[in-house]
Amino acid sequence: MFKTYDMMWQVLHNVLDEPVLSMKMFEAYDGAIKFVTDVYPHREKEVYEAIRDGKDSIYNCDVYKKWCYKKLLELNLHEAYDFSKTNIVSAGYCFYDARFWSKLGIKTIWLYELDEEIRKINWRLTDYVKEDIKILGKTLDCVLDKDYLIKDVGLHINFNCEKYYHMKEAIKKEEYPSDCVFVFCGSSLKYKGPGTTGNGNINICETLDDFIETLPSMNIFFKDTINDKHMVIGCLE
């Protein structure tokens, strides 16, 4: 169900580098949009725009998620560590993400969101990898409800630390495997009211160093900032 030529072009542009998955992605997209239209019509515009432009007002821009996935691949961390079991907090809409999950060797993934609907929509958007990746998840706040997070994982990503209390209070070394790789993304993007981005950003950090202060003590493999977004990759120390 491509509503505009522009939309079809955008999806094609994003999936044609994956010939094996392309047809499955088209089908997943079609099924997801039908589901959203029928069940969550108030989400239709948001999902549509997230897939077309890779942006939405609350969650992630795809450019930052790709930055994370590509950096993990570039650093070859998926070769050195076992990412078969992975947590992702606040992934937003994951239509394009699942391609990277496969490349990272993920076999089971837990998606955590504050928003129940995002999770259900993601089941459809990631349908094209369902034969290879088991997708699970919970609706929770990853800090206040940290007891309900799966701890036995090899990779733990939080794409939106700015929406939560300090990660150093939620991630404790003794609770995770010693070789678990952590990716924390945060930002300096302060919310400026309706119609602007940054909705729900309660823990913004102006600088990368400020951001690192909010994280658990880490052996850092990579850290950088692009635009407003900070990213830190490492293991707990």
Partner: protein, 231 residues
């Protein structure tokens, strides 16, 4: 014993309490005990302003957290009592015996059914200060049934006060229907509680509720509404 309780802090004057008591008494066909809590522990004070730069769009502070202290202060009551909490700015329009007759296997929260008619609005609000599906203006519980909420807040005070700008949002996200504690609450059926914000519109046709919440009115409007309330 049905315990009707309220809580007073801030700018409400004592007349408001008397008005609420008279309002409940007038509408009740059963005996009840009325108590207004005015003294609260300062245990959470230090968390309320922990953020250096606070602005409207930021979250945190958890105003009205005194209401959650009631979940601990209820220990003074008998375990078989029923506690009906009312905000001071509600209008009791029908017999509160309704609440006494409800099954008490779980505590009750007011579900804002009216907000569900505009999902595109409230579902956008998951991550900001207000999540309008829970409304703590009217709650019903047996002593101890909500102690876990108080204990959870006490254990996580720094995080909860940092994150939430409303106790309704806090409770929705941690004891609501999509959370790990999803079975905590029962909900009053639709129509038992109404809100002036929606149902006060002159063109809005609805069955009289048991309790009408006067949210959406200014303090002066509430005073006028209460003094002119239907008899």
């Amino acid at each position: 014993m049905l315990r009707v309780i309220c809580a007073k802090w801030g700018n409400y004057d004592d007349n408001t309490i008397t008005q609420l008591y008279n309002n409940v008494k007038e509408k009740s066909s059963i005996s009840f005990d009325f108590l207004c809590f005015t003294e609260f522990s300062d245990e959470f004070d230090k968390y309320q302003y922990q953020k250096d730069e606070y602005d409207y769009w930021d979250q945190g502070g958890l105003p009205h957290s005194n209401k959650i202290q009631l979940f601990n202060l209820d220990e003074k009551f008998d375990k078989d009592d029923k506690v009906l909490y009312l905000d001071l700015d509600v209008d009791v329009t029908d017999d509160i015996a309704y609440f006494f007759e409800l099954p008490n296997d779980k505590p009750y929260m007011t579900w804002n059914y009216w907000a569900e008619y505009k999902p595109e609005e409230w579902k956008r609000l998951y991550n900001i200060s207000h999540c309008p599906l829970y409304n703590s203006s009217v709650m019903l519980w047996k002593p101890g049934q909500n102690r876990s909420i108080y204990n959870f807040l006490k254990k996580n005070a720094d995080k909860a006060f940092f994150t939430y700008r409303g106790i309704d949002t806090f409770m929705f996200h941690h004891f609501g229907p999509y959370t790990p504690m999803k079975d905590h609450f029962n909900y009053f059926r639709e129509g038992v509680i109404t809100t002036h914000r929606i149902h006060g519109h002159p063109d809005y046709d609805y069955e009289p509720p048991v309790i009408h919440i006067l949210e959406g009115l200014t303090s002066e409007e509430k005073k006028r509404y209460v003094s002119n309330r239907r008899r």
